[in-house]
Amino acid sequence: MRERDAGRSQDQDRHERDRQDRDLPRHEQARAQDRGRPLDRVRDAAEIRRRAELSREKERKHSRWGHAFREHVDATDEQLARRAAAGVNARGQQEDSIPDDATRWQSDAASVITTDRLWRTPEAQQVRNEIDYRIQAGLPTRHSFTVRAPLSKVLGPNWRDDVYGRSKSSHGLQATQWRTDSQAVAVFRKQADDGRWHLHTCYPQAIPYHRP
C-alpha cells in the first residue's frame, strides 16, 4: 500500500514537473528534457559547469547544508595532507576524528557526475520516494540518506584519474592507495528551510564499506 502510494506520488510529481516545464523558455525546456538523462562529461560540459557553480554558491550561502566542493573538490594537496596528519579540514576546523584518507575529486566534472549518478541509482530513488511519501503523509521519518557505488561503476574504467587523497597512516605524507573496489559516497539531506533535497557531501572512499 505504501509503495503504491509512493509510486502515485512520484507520478504526480512528474506530471507537475512536465506542466511547469511547458511554461519555460526554449533553452530551459531543453535543459528540462535532459533532466532524465545521465550527465556525460563532454556532451554536458556546460551543464556540469553550471551545477558546479550553483553548488559552490549554495555552500557559500548555506554553509551548514553541505561542503562537497569546499572539502572534496577545492581542497588543495596541502590541505588534504594537513587533514590526514592533524585532522584540520580545508575550512580550517579542527575535527575530533581524523579520516583514514583525506580525499577529493580531481575536477568539477568528477564530483558533479558522481553526485548525479548516485542520485539516480535505484537504491537512492527508492529511499527518497519512501522518505518523501512519509513526509507528505505526516509520518515520522529520517531526513537524510547515504548512497554508495563502486567508483568504476560511477566514473568508468579511468576513474583513478578522477580521485586523489592523502593517507592518515603516512601522516599525510603519502598519497591514498586506491583499490579496484573503492567507492563513491554521497549523503543527501532534506533541508527543513526549503523542504528540498540537497547534497551534504560527496567523496571518494578508498576502502569500500558493505553493510554487515
Binding site: S97, R142, T146, V187, Y203
Partner: protein
C-alpha cells in the same frame, strides 16, 4: 548486532565532516519524531556492549580511532550534545 536504522543513522549523520550540532538541531526539529523514540535506547545499548567499534567506524565512515577508548570519548561528546540523559558508558 546493530539494527539497520542505527546503521543508517551513523552513516547519515556521523560521517566525515559531520557536525554534532547539526544532529542536535535535527533532533530538536523534524527528525526528532522519528529518531527520539528509539535512538537513545539503541545507541545506549550499542555503547554499553561496545558494538560500535573502531573497525566499523573506519570501514563505514573512514574515521580513524586508535582504540575503543578513543571511540568511546568521541561517542560521549556526541551523546552529551544530543541527549539530556546521562551517557550510558
Amino acid at each position: 548486532m546493530l539494527s539497520e536504522r542505527l546503521l543508517d543513522f551513523l552513516e547519515d549523520w556521523c560521517g566525515l565532516d559531520s557536525d554534532p550540532e547539526d544532529v542536535a538541531e535535527m533532533l530538536r526539529g523534524p527528525g526528532g519524531a522519528y529518531y527520539l523514540p528509539w535512538l537513545p535506547g539503541e545507541l545506549a545499548q550499542a555503547i554499553r556492549e561496545h558494538a560500535i567499534t573502531p573497525e566499523l567506524m573506519s570501514s563505514m565512515l573512514t574515521l580513524h580511532f586508535d582504540d575503543q577508548v578513543a571511540l568511546d570519548r568521541w561517542l560521549r561528546r556526541r551523546w552529551e550534545a544530543w541527549f539530556t540523559q546521562p551517557y550510558p558508558g
